[in-house]
């Protein structure tokens, strides 16, 4: 059985190839709650490289694997912009990472990312994970796929929450559970987020073909 992924109909992307199962990381691989994360070095839309170690004073980071093209990512885009506005000043800025293979999803090219960020006025880094190594290290499978990083006793970033921003992608006015915001509040209150993990609802990351 071939374990495959979503692909978008946008731009009539009816490609004939099929993703190779071996290249698709299984659910549950990568970082878990409590994992210390390795530093990254990815190119931002302004041409500069961004690392987690650039964030010296921040209490944490809202790392979101997302993209230009997935309907779920598009539905959450404004909420991601709003999260950065709300939490940057509290010490938790957003770091958005686009992991999609550009060959499979031309709408996620570096140029398209630049254009999108400009149009929507992104106030946060929007990084291209060209080799997909960062997405694999995190164990990200979806766009959007949310990770809350917080500083541990050693001063390093560790994973404190994994999953979705909230429980209603379709209608922000009908959200009942603000998973990510609740997780930040818990951490701020000196508690462990509960739930620390929820399903990430989104499109499957477009992994590179071999």
């Amino acid at each position: 059985m071939i374990k495959t992924t979503f692909a978008l109909v946008l731009a009539v992307a009816f490609s004939s190839f099929r993703p190779s199962p071996a290249l698709t990381p299984a659910e549950g691989e990568g970082y878990d709650i409590g994992s210390e994360v390795a530093d990254i070095q990815l190119k931002n839309i302004d041409g500069k490289m961004v690392s987690f170690s650039d964030f010296k004073k921040e209490k944490g980071l809202i790392v979101i694997f997302t993209c230009n093209t997935c309907p779920y990512a598009i539905a959450y885009e404004q909420r991601i912009i709003d999260l950065d506005k709300a939490f940057r000043s509290q010490g938790y800025p957003v770091v958005a990472i686009n992991p999609n293979d550009v060959n499979r999803q031309p709408g996620d090219s570096y140029e398209a990312m630049q254009q999108r960020a400009k149009e929507k006025g992104y106030t946060f880094p929007y990084l291209q994970d060209e080799t997909q190594q960062v997405a694999k290290a995190f164990g990200a499978t979806r766009t959007p796929h949310v990770y809350l990083l917080t500083r541990n006793d050693s001063g390093n970033f560790q994973v404190s929450f994994i999953g979705s921003i909230d429980d209603n992608y379709d209608d922000p006015s009908q959200v009942e559970n603000h998973f990510l915001e609740d997780a930040i509040k818990a951490v701020e209150g000196g508690k462990a987020p509960d739930p620390a993990k929820v399903k990430a609802i989104g499109c499957t990351i477009k992994w590179r073909e071999s």
């Binding site: 059985m1 071939i2 099929r18 429980d167």
Partner: protein, 166 residues
């Protein structure tokens, strides 16, 4: 002059009527309603495919489900194509898709806004990605879940495995 064109106009009107009539209408269902439908199906084997109009692998797979339904036309097997298009967008996205594409099997729209809730209720082992296919037979007390795209052969084998189980 006027009379000469009348039959043509009539013919075109009939043709237009037929075209409209063949575009499948979908019914919106909640998870509870879907469960009730399956429970009421008694002797049937339900092959329930979860898809969306924006999911290319899902759309590649749709004809295989139509083929399956045709192959089992004389047996109690029912294909249900359940779209998980966003409830706020289904009225446009799903309707226009069904107007453009000829889909033979019955189409339903999952009228549930909260994936964290409905995914587990449909299949606890489901990560939520589509396409995903659930086969349920209340009469045989059998259930099978498959996540990911299938070829026509893989789908047939999967269905056979549940029907031919000793």
């Amino acid at each position: 002059m006027r009379q000469r064109f009348l039959p043509i106009t009539f013919f075109l009107a009939v043709l237009a009527g037929i075209t409209v009539a063949t575009a499948q209408q979908y019914k919106a269902v909640t998870v509870d309603q879907l469960d009730a439908r399956i429970a009421a199906g008694q002797d049937s084997v339900f092959v329930i495919n979860f898809w969306a109009t924006w999911c290319a692998p899902c759309i590649r797979e749709l004809p295989y489900f139509d083929e399956l339904q045709a192959a089992y036309a004389r047996q109690p097997l029912k294909v249900l194509l359940v779209s998980v298009d966003a409830p706020s967008k289904a009225a446009t996205s799903l309707s226009s898709f069904l107007k453009k594409r000829s889909v033979q099997s019955e189409v339903l729209h999952l009228n549930e806004a909260k994936p964290h809730e409905y995914i587990d209720r449909i299949a606890p082992e489901w990560s939520g990605s589509i396409p995903a296919t659930l086969i349920r037979s209340p009469a045989l007390d059998r259930r099978l879940f498959h996540e990911g795209e299938m070829t026509s052969e893989e789908l047939k084998t999967l269905v056979k495995s549940i029907i031919d189980q000793p």
